[in-house]
Symmetry: C2
Subunit: 168 residues, 2 copies
DNA sequence: TATTGTTATACTCTATAACTATA
DNA sequence: TATAGTTATAGAGTATAACAATA
């Protein structure tokens, strides 16, 4: 009961450590982003991803990368647009799609938040890791991430299921 | 702008991998717990922690370990109690405190959910790690967790601040 | 007919502040 | 006076389903 079969105690320990570390880090980061840049977690991710991808993307691109529902992203994008940090326009090549672009204010906001953000991450995560520790994590975690990404078709399910039946 | 000063590209990569891994794992786990045992993330953590600590704890114990506000925990504990998975009684040694105890149904629920829970974790996290990978993570992550836990006095701030002034 | 995105809605989680009671 | 916990309430995030427009 205390150490249920299924995972070794070592695996269980590691799992708990991962979950707790991530939760603590996530929580602190959220606080910082809110206090320092008035951004939610997701809003920051959207802006950062936009900047990282050259400034523009479609809603679907963003939803796949950041959130797990389109409506959730629509909501967040609405807030970002109202704050003047992004614009949304019709995509020239596919009239159905929405072209999302970071504004100058959006870039400025990212630049404003990023240093403090990275400092939090360094203080909580990297400052007490040895070079070997970092090597280990840098080696393992990206593989873990890629593996996890490869598994589930998540987030799109709802639409496909819902379409199934449309009675009169 | 794409790789801001403050963290090395390697560190940044590792950080993103950690955040994404944790988010993907967390999201999948939440879905499973809800579908398989009608439990929220926090509710499961409360139950698991209670079981792990011999069946009983105070609200403050639980709040410190799981959530970041007492009222949040009160809410979750209320749901768990209504579902018959825990009981709340006066603590015999300190009449202010609440003694939270897992019921048989609570233990049963944990036992019901745990196998599937661990299977999700194994499939997403451990199945594609080598023994060396596991060694590395098992070595590093608990230290990371302990370090993070040692940093912030979080979650208790609200009360102390709020108490400061009580005018009129 | 399938896809993109928005809307409307409802639900859950979380936190702040005010309050009771015990220490 | 300080602590444990609850309550009331309000706010933010998320998701489901129904919908309009385009491919």
């Amino acid at each position: 009961m205390t150490s249920p079969a299924g995972l070794s105690p070592r695996e269980l320990q590691t799992y708990f450590a991962l979950v707790e570390s991530a939760a603590l880090l996530h929580h602190t980061v959220e606080q910082h982003l809110r206090a320092d840049g008035d951004l939610s977690d997701v809003q920051f991710q959207v802006l950062a991803r936009l900047v990282d991808e050259g400034g523009r993307a479609t809603m679907t691109d963003l939803a796949d990368g950041v959130v797990y529902s389109r409506s959730g992203l629509t909501h967040q994008a609405g807030l970002l647009e109202k704050a003047g940090l992004i614009t949304r326009t019709r995509h020239p090549e596919d009239q159905r799609a929405t072209l999302v672009e970071v504004t100058e204010a959006g870039r400025a906001r990212v630049d404003q938040v990023m240093p403090g953000h990275l400092e939090v991450v360094r203080r909580m995560l990297f400052d007490q890791l040895s070079a070997d520790d970092l090597d280990a994590l840098a080696d393992v975690l990206p593989r873990v991430r890629d593996h996890m990404r490869s598994l589930p078709p998540r987030s799109v399910t709802s639409r496909k299921e819902g379409r199934r039946e449309r009675a009169s």
